[in-house]
Structure formats: C-alpha cells, structure tokens
C-alpha cells in the first residue's frame, strides 16, 4: 500500500483490514468478470436505451455484439449539435464499451435474419427496439426464438410496451429521450412557476438523457433478475421496457401523489416540495449548492451566515416548506443576501468548520449544513476525488483516437465492472463472430 493510498482509504477507529480491502478495490484489473460466459446480441436501432443496457452487461464481462445494418445504426448520428468524429457521434463513442460490431440487414434480408436466429440460439440475451411485433412478424421475435432457445432473455424496448391495446394502437411510435421524459412525467415537475414569463414557465426538459438512461438501466436490472432466474432454473423470459414508464416508475411520486392529492403538483421553480434549504444560491464568485433541511442543520446554517435573528420565524421544517410559495421565496432571498457576501470556497469552509466542531462536541445534534461549490461536468472532471477513484478513464479507439469517458459506476471487491476497450467501427468483428459462433 502506497502512502497515498493509505491516506485516502484510512478511517477512524482501530484500523483493521478496512483500509486494505478498500485499497484493493481501487483497481479492477485482473479480477473476475461476472458475465464472462454470456453472449448478448444488441439489435436495437436508433435507441440509446438499448445501447446503454448492452453497455452495462458488457462492463460486467458479457460478450456483447452490436448488430447493425451495413450503413450503421442511426444512433451513430444522434449527437449534440451534429458533432462527430469520422461520422461517429459522441454518445455512441461514449457507450462503445467492450463491444463487438457486426453487420446484418435484419430489416430487409431473409438470409441475415437466419444468421441472426442462428446467433440467438447461442445467446443468453437479445436486446431490440423495433416496433412491437415487428421482429415477431419477421419470424425472429421472442415467440420463435424461445422455442429453439428456452433459456433466452429477450429485452424489448419501445414507447408504450409490448402488450395492452394502447401498445397495439401506438406500436409505430418510436421511443426517444425527450418523448420518454415528457410522457413519463419529468418536465411537469421542472421549470419556473406558472406566474413567470414564457417560455420559462413551460415544463422543462431534464438537460441530460434522463429518459433513455432510466430505460437502459431498468432494462439491465430486469435483464439481470432474469439472468439469476435462468441461472437457477434454465428458464428464459421476456423483459418489456416502455419509455413512457421511465421516470414515473423510477421515482414513483407522480402516480401516488396524483391519486392521494387528486391533482397535479404545480411547478415551483428552484424550490423543493419537501426539503428547505435544499437548492443553490448565488455567491460572490458563482453558485453554491446548500442542503440544510433538518431543523438542526438549518439552525447551523443560520449561525454560519449570521442570520440567527431569523430563527424564531423559521424554526420548524413545516415553516419552511414552500406550500406558500411567496413565503419560501422570501426566505430564499434572505439567505441569498448573505451568500452573496462570500465566495464559494469561503462558504464551503465555513460549513465544514462548523460540522467538524459540532461532530466533536459533547453536545450532539449541532447539525450538518452541507455547502458545496456547484460544478459543471467539465469542472467535475478536475476534482481530485474522481482522480483518486479512477472515475474518469482516458480510452483510445483504434480509428477515432483518444477521448475521456466516465467509466465504472460502482466499485466491487471481487467482480467489478470495467471498460477494457472502446470501439465503434461498423462490421469490425464480422469475421471473428462468424468464425466463433457460426462455423458449425
């Protein structure tokens, strides 16, 4: 263990093996891969939920074959402002992890459909995003493939799912991130209050692929539950993910609140429905995020900012929740007047010093007001924490050169996920795949 590793893994108390366990988790190389005996076919098209789901399985060691038509998956051109590297879009490069690339024209060629069926016979997982029923119509849907391969897990992604009358009526509706966000209830909760001027008062889109990442993650989670069942019983099954479910099924609040309150929540801008202070404020040199929602956290924040005279008016969390918007915004401005007098670093240091003292005090319950500097993704990349944790990885594509990705989402002591290579060349592994899986 280097001295540096010791510093960053050390914890209070008597020591023991914890530091050693954590130090070993800093690297994934040489460790076992969970899914090293699993073949996954990703035949999704123009749908990143499928590509993302396939990435997660690939990071855990599965052999993932991305199957696309000879001209390439249209997802290659789904990219911010049209920026590509040699025709490959940024999100496609970002998700091009540990994958093999094969060309098959499933949409048009009977011959290629047969090849796909032959591969699916050996696969554990198939991922597809054609219109519901389309693969079935071609004779290579779950119904047909599972007869030859009863252990097959068939993950289908669409806008409205694979069953119900609605799914039948809207079968032709493609799934995209923004329609998934809208249809599953996220923008309804984001944006300025109705009194604000347009378009700020409109429902606001989440500025990242919330819909597609939730669908992809849900597909991988459902698929892995199915893999466990397959491991125990040998049985496969179908996993149906609908983009219109994504947000509401993930967080659960829209359905329950719509029922118990019998109406929809309004948009309340930068405020939160449950916690206050819980948001961001302007400071001298930028913005800080502040979370001090519990009563003792809030009192601590008042002390730090020199606002103790406010304590009487806002003593309980029920005084601070924004069901009377004007009242909450009033407090918001009182806090802002103070945060504007300090820089982000000063505010962070003030909160840390307070928390440290309160944790050491024999008078417990001093509160933990959390203040941090608001970071853009670009600033986050320079944070030492992520450097130590190897959260970002510089990768090199044979054709496209070097670039940076945020790598693994979790650290595991025995079988961690990892990015072994990135690639995105169309048909790059045609020969390898035919030799390995189709030569008999």
């Amino acid at each position: 263990m280097s001295s540096r590793e010791e510093v960053y893994t050390r914890h209070g108390g008597k020591g023991g093996d914890r530091g050693k366990i954590l130090t070993e988790m800093m690297n994934a190389e040489g460790k076992a891969e969970v899914l090293d005996d699993i073949l996954v076919l990703d035949v999704s098209c123009a749908n990143f939920a499928g590509i993302i789901c396939a990435s997660f399985l690939a990071e855990f060691g599965a052999e993932v074959i991305k199957i696309e038509p000879p001209e390439g998956d249209a997802a290659r051109q789904i990219t911010p402002f049209g920026v590509t590297v040699q025709g490959v879009g940024i999100p496609f490069m970002f998700e091009g992890r540990n994958k093999r690339y094969m060309t098959l024209d499933i949409k048009n060629s009977d011959e290629d459909r047969k090849t796909f069926a032959a591969l699916a016979k050996k696969a554990a997982v198939v991922i597809e995003s054609f219109a519901p029923g389309e693969m079935d119509g071609w004779g290579i849907g779950y119904r047909q493939l599972s007869q030859v391969n009863p252990g097959l897990i068939y993950i289908a992604l669409s806008a409205y799912g694979q069953y119900t009358d609605k799914a039948r009526e809207a079968a032709r509706a493609p799934d995209t991130d923004i329609t998934s966000q809208a249809g599953s209830g996220l923008p309804a909760q984001m944006g300025a209050p109705a009194e604000d001027r347009e378009p700020f008062s409109w429902p606001l889109r989440g500025g990242m692929w919330v819909g597609w990442y939730i669908s992809g993650l849900s597909a991988a989670l459902g698929g892995t539950v199915a893999l466990l069942h397959r491991q125990n019983t040998g049985e496969g099954q179908m996993v149906d993910v609908a983009g219109m479910d994504a947000y509401s099924s993930m967080v659960g609040m829209p359905a329950t609140i719509g029922f118990t309150w019998e109406k929809a929540r309004p948009r309340i801008g930068v405020l939160d429905f449950i916690l206050y202070p819980y948001g961001h404020w302007k400071c001298k040199d930028g913005f800080v995020a502040i979370a001090a929602p519990r009563d003792h956290d809030f009192r601590a924040l008042l002390k730090i900012l020199g606002l103790w005279e406010q304590e009487d008016d806002w003593r309980y969390s029920s005084d601070r929740i924004p069901d009377i918007l004007e009242q909450a915004l009033h407090l918001h401005r009182i806090i802002e007047e103070k945060t504007l007098q300090f820089t982000a670093d000063e505010l962070v240091r003030m909160a840390l010093n307070y928390s440290r003292k309160s944790a050491r005090s024999k008078w417990r319950g001093g509160g933990v007001p959390i203040v941090m500097k608001l970071m853009t993704p670009e600033e986050a990349m320079t944070n030492k924490q992520w450097h130590i944790r190897k959260a970002f990885q510089e990768v090199e594509d044979e054709k496209l050169g070097k670039y940076t990705i945020s790598a693994n989402f979790v650290k595991m002591s025995e079988s961690p996920p990892r990015v072994k290579w990135v690639a995105s060349e169309i048909g790059k592994d045609n020969d390898y795949i035919r030799k390995k899986y189709l030569s008999d």
Binding site: M93, A182, K282, A289, M375, V410, E414
Partner: protein, 451 residues
C-alpha cells in the same frame, strides 16, 4: 399464427403475476439504510422476492418517514414512503446497544446481503461494517452506499441527492442558456437512479456468488452513478467545449423540444433519424423539408443554425393544432411525440393501469393506494407489490420469533431494555388512527389475537 398482441397479452397477463415464481426467493437482506438511496436498492430486491428486513431506530425511525410533499399526509402515513419501502419487514432495534448487535450478528449468519448508507466508516465504527459481518458470514454481499464513495479525499463528506447532482455536473445542465437559474432534477432522481445502479451491482454479485461461492464488498457512490449517465465529459474531451444548458431543446436530435400546442397543452416532439424526419415532414404537409439540403441529412439538421430555423418551423406548426391531434398524427405516421404528462394524468391513465406501470393496490392496513409499477415488466418472474410500508417496529415479532427463534419472554425483556421498540405518536411512524393494531395477527405474531 396468433396475433402478436394477443400472444403478449397472455405472456404478461397481470392476473397471473402473483402465481409466477420469484427470482430472488430465499435471498435474505439486512437493510440498515435510510432516506431514499439505500432503501430503494433494498426495495428493488424485495420487489423480486427477496426477504428484506429493514432496521430502524425505535421511536424515531427512518428520517424520511415523515418527509412528505408539502407536509401532506395520507392516513397518517407519508404517501410517497410507501413506494420507497414496500414489501419489507420493519424491525426496530437500537443499533447502539450491545444486545442489538448480538441480534444483528445472529441474523448475519443466515443473511445473503447487507445494505447500509451511513457516512463512510460509521458502520465499521459501530462494529456492523463489512469487516465484522464478513467474519461472521464470509459469503456475505455487503453494499455500502454514499455520496462520494468509501475512499478518496472527500470520503467523509455527507451528501444528499442534491449534492450528487451538484458534484457530477447534472444540476448545471438544466435550464435556459444565458440565464442565472438552474433547476435540479426533481423528485430525488439523484437517489433513485443510483439506487437502481446499486441494486444492479448486488444482482451481479449474487450471480457471481452462485458461480463461485464468493461474497464481496460493494462501494456505490451516488455521484459516480450520475456521472455514468453523462456523455458531456466525452464531448468536452473531444471538442474542448461544454454542451451547457440548452433549455427545452435536446441538442442530440432535431427537431427535439417541448412545444406549446393550440389548446395550450405542452408536448414533446422529436425526430431522431432521417426516416422519422421524412415521416414528420409529410405528416405536416411540408415534404420539401425532407429534401432541403439543410435538413435532409441528420448531421446537417443538427447544426445550430439549421436547428434554429427548423425549431421555429416546428414551433409554428405545433401552435396551429391541438395536442391530442398532434400525438395521434405522430403515432399514425411513426415519428415520436408525447404530451407532457403530470401527476394526475399518470395516476389516472387507463393504459398505465392495464399495463401495470401504475397499480391500484389493496393493502391490509391502509386500503387502496395507487403506486407506481416497475420500470421493466418481466414475463416470467415479475416484480410485484405484496404490502405497503408499515408502522415503525410492525414486524418486530415476526422477525424475532419466526426468523431468529426468540420466545415471547425474551422479546418482552428486549422491549423493557429498549433494545427494540415501536412507534412514537407521530404521523409517518404510527398506524392510521382507525386501525386497531391489537387485532393485527402480524403485529402480534405468536400471541393470542382477539379477532
């Protein structure tokens, strides 16, 4: 051949779901976690059949129990808490006491998974961390959830969903360019998404354990979970520029924005591919757009100057028609469009109920409540709801008698010493006032009940 949708209707028939096998049956989980991030990971395992025992401090309980939107309770419970912690066994023990630890150590012998989200190092300091538990049960899968991870210079920093959004860069991506207002993603997405990542990691560890017999330690940092979903880092490393905020327009497709229709309804409309754009152009009677050199090619269409022109054209068109008609047109033609759904429509849409993505659940204690269904429907081993959240300490007797073999006298002794306990008279912790716990056979498990 049978019609596809008749076939799938049988395959996914909701009426059969409760008879189908459970993928995680026989897996026992000790859930020390609180608030949302950890509890959601544990709940996902419970939804697929694992036996999850949630531990809470007597008379206080989980911090999130009383935390409801705008302080609105439902039958003296927090309505959104039901979705976060359903299907669990609620055991209330004081982790600080020696005797509680003995109970935990005994339970650890037969557990498969432990989940905690205290500040890093706390569980170990209390002698209930991985180091201690793995000595009792070497095959244990131990999940530690935190905001910044178990190691690294920021490991001691406390956090909430907001801080993970702030530290990953997510928060600064929401809003309009050239303004000084950012919006956080609502409803604690920064807890739910990492909670799902954490559950995925546990499932992978279970799969690995079945193959090799080995347990492991899992370090899930919620900020890293959010960071995994941003290709913005890659964009920056290649172009040297930031994507930044783009308001209501998704810069990766064109058109792709939220628009306002003639009837004041808001809707999202997008074309991800050249094919979809062609269908859109003919659906609005502007076929010439699909052959216009500025718009025909996807990459050309995405270039900021062309995107601006096209967004203006689409904005004008959407303004001319009611929302419902646009979505119907889109579904027929095959380009993506969806009205912005709010809480009320999601709770009441008929198709969501039929699909099972929104469920009217009848609970023994609370009666009818609408809750969200799973975000992935499985035909063979579906996720299901068996019961909602319960008052604090509701399952004390079931867990201690049935799972640990304690006698009524031993339990009474633990109660007297305040090792275990139940609820205080506060909403979120206590049962509905009309509900008579004395007659509840589960709460009084192993005792005579006068019903």
């Amino acid at each position: 051949m049978e019609d596809y949708f008749s076939y799938t209707a049988k395959l996914f028939n909701l009426d059969d779901a409760s008879q189908k096998p459970e993928a995680l049956k026989g897996i026992r989980v000790m859930d020390f976690s609180h608030v949302i991030f950890g509890p959601v990971a544990a709940r996902l395992l419970a939804d697929y059949g694992a036996e999850v025992i949630k531990l809470e401090l007597p008379f206080y309980g989980d911090l999130w129990r009383p935390a409801t939107y705008w302080g609105k309770y439902w039958k003296h419970s927090n309505p959104i808490w039901h979705n976060i912690t359903k299907n669990k066994y609620f055991l209330s023990v004081n982790l600080a006491l020696r005797q509680s630890k003995e109970l935990i150590y005994k339970m650890a012998e037969t557990s498969d998974v432990v989940i905690e989200n205290f500040a890093p190092g706390t569980a170990d300091a209390w002698q209930i961390g991985y180091e201690k538990i793995s000595k009792i049960n070497p095959n244990i899968i131990f999940l530690s959830c935190s905001t910044y991870g178990q190691f690294g210079p920021m490991r001691y920093f406390p956090g909430w969903d907001l801080l993970a959004q702030g530290a990953s860069g997510v928060l600064t991506l929401n809003g309009y360019p050239d303004t000084d207002v950012f919006y956080k993603l609502p409803d604690y997405v920064g807890d739910f998404v990492p909670g799902n990542f954490a559950a995925l990691a546990v499932l992978m560890a279970l799969y690995y354990r079945k193959k090799t017999g080995k347990g492991q330690y899992i370090d899930m940092a919620q900020t890293e979970g959010l960071m995994r979903t941003l290709f913005h880092y890659t964009y920056y490393s290649i172009t040297g520029e930031a994507i930044g905020r783009t308001g209501n327009t998704d810069p990766t497709m064109m058109p792709a924005s939220i628009f306002k229709a003639a009837d004041g309804k808001y809707l999202a409309l997008a074309c991800a591919t050249a094919g979809q754009f062609k269908k859109f152009a003919s659906a609005i009677g502007r076929q010439e757009l699909a052959s216009d050199p500025r718009f025909a090619d996807t990459i050309e269409r995405l270039k900021p100057e062309n995107a601006k022109t096209l967004t203006e054209i689409v904005t004008e068109w959407v303004k001319s028609k009611p929302g419902v008609e646009i979505v119907r047109l889109a579904d027929e033609a095959g380009f993506p469009a969806a009205e912005v759904a709010d809480d009320f429509t999601i709770a009441n849409d008929e198709w969501r109920r039929k699909r099972g993505s929104v469920v009217l659940f009848k609970d023994d204690v609370y009666g009818n409540l609408v809750i969200a269904g799973p975000s992935a429907q499985l035909s063979g081993t579906p996720s299901r709801t068996k019961w909602l959240a319960r008052p604090l300490g509701y399952h004390n007797r079931v867990v201690l008698k049935k799972f640990l073999g304690l006698s009524e006298n031993e339990i009474k002794d633990l109660e007297k010493k305040k090792v275990i306990g139940t609820f205080d008279d506060r909403p979120g912790l206590k049962p509905p006032v009309y509900y008579n716990l004395d007659e509840d056979p589960i709460y009084n498990y192993g005792k005579e009940v006068s019903s």
